[in-house]
């Protein structure tokens, strides 16, 4: 009787070990939740110190942070656009505006990049919407990832 019990217990341990080993080997390197991220940092590379008011034609600095957690190497392009409070941008549709700058980066899975950008806005505006959209290159060309950031700012002319 005890022979059968001993055999059953040890065999059960071995079967469970085999199943765990096989599942670990088959799922190794897979990403459970793939995503890309974009963030905008202020001139001091800090969150939330973005300029609220800028002067027409006067350059100001920002940093664009992008991160790849897609489980594969990605070629990102960040498009910078200027709109206003009627400019729509969301997860499915980018802003229907011509970009004034593009910033590119190729990142392997798990890598991130902080890109310094210098921007100057050409015309005065109240509540200008400075939009940064994250695009990626795929086999069928470029596509909008559905991720974006925007900053509100007033663009004033010199007195």
């Amino acid at each position: 009787m005890i022979d059968e019990e001993v055999r059953a217990v040890v065999l059960a341990v071995i079967v469970i070990s085999a199943a765990l080993s096989a599942s670990q080997a088959m799922t190794a390197g897979r990403v459970a939740e793939a995503f890309s991220a974009i963030g905008i940092l202020g001139p001091e590379m800090k969150i939330g110190d973005h300029p609220k008011t800028v002067i027409v034609g006067e350059p100001f600095n920002l940093y664009v942070y992008i991160e790849n957690q897609e489980g594969r190497t990605m070629y990102y392009t960040v498009l910078a656009k200027v709109g206003n409070n009627s400019t729509a941008v969301n997860e499915t549709a980018p802003a229907g505006l011509e970009p004034f700058a593009a910033y590119r980066s190729i990142l392997a899975h798990g890598q991130n990049a902080t890109i310094p950008v210098e921007i100057s806005l050409a015309s005065p505006a109240q509540n200008a919407k400075l939009i940064f959209e994250l695009w990626a290159i795929g086999e069928n060309g470029a596509y909008y990832t559905g991720r974006w950031n925007h900053l509100w700012m007033n663009v004033t002319s010199l007195p």
Partner: protein, 154 residues
């Protein structure tokens, strides 16, 4: 930092292919490459990236090549002729490394499969050995540990 989130949709704006690097990367006019040279290198970078993506999907480790390609991208966007030429050379190097990366990837995948199969075979063999010899072993150990016992019958 605000992190945006969402799914994907399609369509490429012309600006993605234009090679316009933005005002921050512009340098003196004398050192500027022609627009077409810069665009050519950016197109080559994109083509090399697609090659790397394909190699990666077939098991190649392309991390180092991706870092090189990103450096080429920075050089191509930085604006002067010398940097664009350097970027073109890096892209060429990355393209020529793809076959060896693919070979390494396929070898790594093959040996990974062999290792897994060997591990599962070893576990199966262990199961058979356990089934055959464990009771004998357990009783031998039990006998050895109780050999000083005395048994009395009443």
């Amino acid at each position: 930092m605000a992190l945006a989130a969402a799914s994907a949709s399609a369509i490429a704006p012309a600006a993605l292919a234009s090679g316009e690097p933005g005002s921050h990367s512009r340098t003196g006019a004398a050192a500027m490459p022609s627009e077409s040279a810069q665009e050519t290198v950016l197109a080559e970078i994109q083509a090399a990236f697609l090659l790397l993506s394909d190699a990666e999907s077939r098991g190649a480790n392309v991390t180092s090549a991706a870092v090189d390609l990103n450096r080429a991208l920075a050089l191509a966007s930085s604006g002067n002729q010398q940097s664009v030429s350097e970027a073109a050379a890096i892209v060429q190097g990355v393209r020529s490394s793809v076959p060896s990366l693919l070979a390494e990837g396929e070898a790594a995948r093959y040996w990974g499969t062999v290792g897994l199969a060997a591990w599962l075979a070893a576990l199966a063999a262990a199961g058979i050995l356990v089934y055959l010899y464990t009771p004998k072993l357990v009783w031998r150990i039990w006998m050895r540990s109780k050999r000083r016992w005395t048994v009395s019958a009443q």
